[in-house]
Amino acid sequence: MKQQIRLTEMKKQEKGVVVAIVGGGGMTRRLEALGIRPGKRIQKSSESFMRGPVTVRVENAQVAIGFGMASRILVELDRGET
């Protein structure tokens, strides 16, 4: 059974597939434009303290996403455990 979590809950270097973006059309479109949309494989590359931005790798790009937006991106982890 694969696990769905928020992007903000992913651990660094963990990989997964975006399953849903919980947000309005504007936010969805802006994320899409940077290559982040349901079905895309991503890898979380960093996070910061104090609810700072999360960065992910998608295809050959690295994208920084504000904490609030990142918490509305749901990801299915590659591994089922934890």
Binding site: K12, G26, R29, R30, L31, E32, A33, L34, G35, R37, G39, S45, S46, E47, S48, F49, M50, R51, G52, P53, T55, E59, N60, A61, Q62, V63, A64, I65, G66, F67, G68, M69
Partner: protein, 570 residues
């Protein structure tokens, strides 16, 4: 005929533009370098063709002011237009989103696959011919920084055509996925050292340490080069070569009189004092060339390197949380850093911020708390002789005001402060040719902007003094100047000239023999109370007259409050 260069941010549109037209535009390695369009011309088959470098946009639905400009330019394009759509070959999939939207507009188009070399390095291989067949428009691979493929691009402009490519809006991404699947092949590769560094520099640890290291190093490099150039080139040239010429001129003019004072200025103990004489040919030339230019040169050397390497967006991520406290997000480091060079480009670059609230806060904070390099170098020259005892309170106060005022604006300015969402470009080794060109352009712009205003400032000082206007304002404003700020009445001259040019204004404090405390108050107030006229004009355009009036009120009030406070506690 007109050509529009369009594409996502940071794919190299401006580099292609300057390759095609030879026109000078600033290029960097971060999204949002170009916030305004630039026109250039080139000859194609004997015909003069206008080419426009358009700000980058991810889609034809704009999300910030720079993107709005891009979309409006496409809307306004007449029949006789060709769009060159530049895409990032290393990120073909997401680039094609804009490409399909452009194809749908049915404008004649050529597709450029830029960063072709980088794509090869990371194992991305694109079949340009197949892509051409699918999309129905010419596709040309290029490496714009070296000029590879640009000739081919120009040759193929005549083949630009409207595509008849059809797709349903709902299946857009599916469609794009299919195209990419057909034309792109990826060979396996390992993480490069650059990518490892890229990850390391955005993590709180060791990213914050790296940032502090880089900023300290940058500061040290600027100080060393700036001081070195002033001490070894600027001052020797003026003192050794120019001073004798001026003394000669002084005696030719009879050593006194209005014309003498205007050109040569007042002699101090029978000698030229380039800091205090205040003649057009003495202080008027010394300030821009010998006192300010060395620091401006050193600053842009460091800034250009940070821009071209791709470090700025990393700094933006690290500072994002702090920036949110003042109602901005990380990318607001760009206007602040550019403003440190000159407030004018700083004010323009607020266009990369999404909301009106952010643009207002960024513009206002920059104008109030970020002194330009011309002003910094004069402050260092004047107050630096007391060392950290005066410099630390000056710049420390500005920093504290930046935070406190930012907190207040964040709370009281209505509107939204969106979160950061930004492409983080890979680290790149700055291309030497582009780097040198950018340095030259910035130095040239500085001289072109600064010299007329400095000379006008010096001229105005002389005229207003001889008419007694400044003395009059001094009497009238004595309550504020002496009462609140604790400065001598004569300091009003600096405040008057500060509207024109901050470096001259700081220079006018030199003959007043201020105490350390007065120096601190004067330098802080001169930075805060109003931007120079060039910045003011740009800010009116960017914020609108009403918001600018609001900003101006905030400037004057906060300058008086902070200046009065410093006068009380120091």
């Amino acid at each position: 005929m007109r050509i529009l260069l369009m594409g996502n941010p940071n794919v190299g549109k401006s580099v292609v533009f300057s390759r095609m037209t030879g026109a000078r535009v600033i290029t960097s390695n971060y999204p949002g370098t170009t916030v305004e369009y630039t026109r250039g011309y080139m000859r194609i088959a004997g015909q003069r063709v206008e080419i426009a470098d358009v700000p980058g946009t991810y889609s034809l639905e704009p999300t910030c002011k720079a993107e709005e400009i891009a979309c409006r330019m496409l809307e306004e394009a007449s029949d006789n237009v060709i769009v060159i759509n530049i895409v990032d070959a290393t990120n073909l999939e997401r680039s094609l989103n804009l490409t399909l939207q452009l194809l749908k507009r049915r404008v004649p188009m050529v597709l450029v696959l830029n960063l072709w070399d980088e794509a090869g390095h990371i194992g991305v291989h694109i079949d340009a011919e197949k892509l051409e067949q699918i999309l129905g428009v010419p596709c040309v691979p290029t490496v714009a920084v070296t000029g590879e493929g640009i000739k081919k691009l120009v040759e193929r402009l005549s083949e630009a055509r409207e595509s008849d490519y059809e797709y349903g809006e709902d299946e857009k991404w599916h469609e794009i996925g299919e195209i990419v699947g057909k034309v792109q092949r990826i060979t396996h590769r390992h993480h490069t050292p650059g990518e490892m560094l890229a990850d390391a520099s955005v993590k709180p640890f060791p990213g914050a340490l790296i940032a502090i290291g880089i900023l300290l190093l940058a500061f040290e490099v600027i100080r060393t080069i700036g001081e070195g150039l002033i001490g070894r080139v600027g001052e020797p040239v003026f003192e050794g070569l120019w001073a004798p010429v001026m003394l000669r001129l002084s005696s030719l003019l009879g050593g006194t009189g209005f014309v003498h004072d205007l050109l040569v200025g007042r002699l101090v103990d029978g000698e030229i004092d380039f800091g205090q004489s205040f003649g057009l040919l003495t202080t008027g030339l010394f300030v821009p060339f010998a006192a300010v230019l060395p620091y401006v040169f050193a600053f842009y050397l460091v800034l250009s390197f940070l821009e071209d390497s791709g470090y700025l967006p990393r700094l933006a991520i690290l500072l994002d949380s702090i920036m949110h406290r003042v109602g901005l997000h990380g990318m607001a480091v760009v206007p602040m850093l550019l403003g440190l060079g000159c407030n004018v480009p700083g004010a323009l670059s607020t266009r990369i911020m999404e909301s009106r609230k952010e643009r207002f806060i960024a513009g206002t904070l920059m104008a109030i708390c970020v002194p330009c390099m011309a002003q910094v170098s004069m402050i260092v020259g004047l107050a630096g002789k007391h060392g950290a005892r005066s410099l630390l309170p000056i710049f420390g106060t500005l920093f504290v005001v930046w935070i406190l005022l930012g907190r207040l604006l964040e709370r009281f300015i209505r509107g939204e402060s969106p979160e950061i969402l930004m492409d983080v470009p890979p680290y790149r080794i700055p291309h030497l040719g582009g780097f040198l060109k950018k340095m030259w352009m910035r130095i040239f712009w500085f001289l072109r902007e600064a010299i007329p205003w400095v000379l006008l400032g010096v001229l105005l000082v002389n005229v207003l003094y001889s008419l007694g206007v400044i003395q009059f304002i001094g009497e009238v404003a004595a309550v504020v100047i002496t009462g609140i700020l604790g400065l001598p009445k004569e300091a009003v001259g600096g405040l008057v000239v500060g509207f024109l040019r901050k470096d001259v204004a700081v220079g006018m404090l030199a003959p007043l023999h201020l105490s350390v405390k007065q120096l601190i108050v004067a330098c802080v107030v001169l930075t805060m109370y109003f931007p120079c006229v060039a910045t003011f004009a740009v800010m009116i355009k960017e914020l609108g007259i009403l918001d600018m009036l609001k900003a101006a009120a905030i400037m004057v009030i906060s300058a008086l409050v902070v200046g009065g406070f410093l006068n009380l506690i120091l």
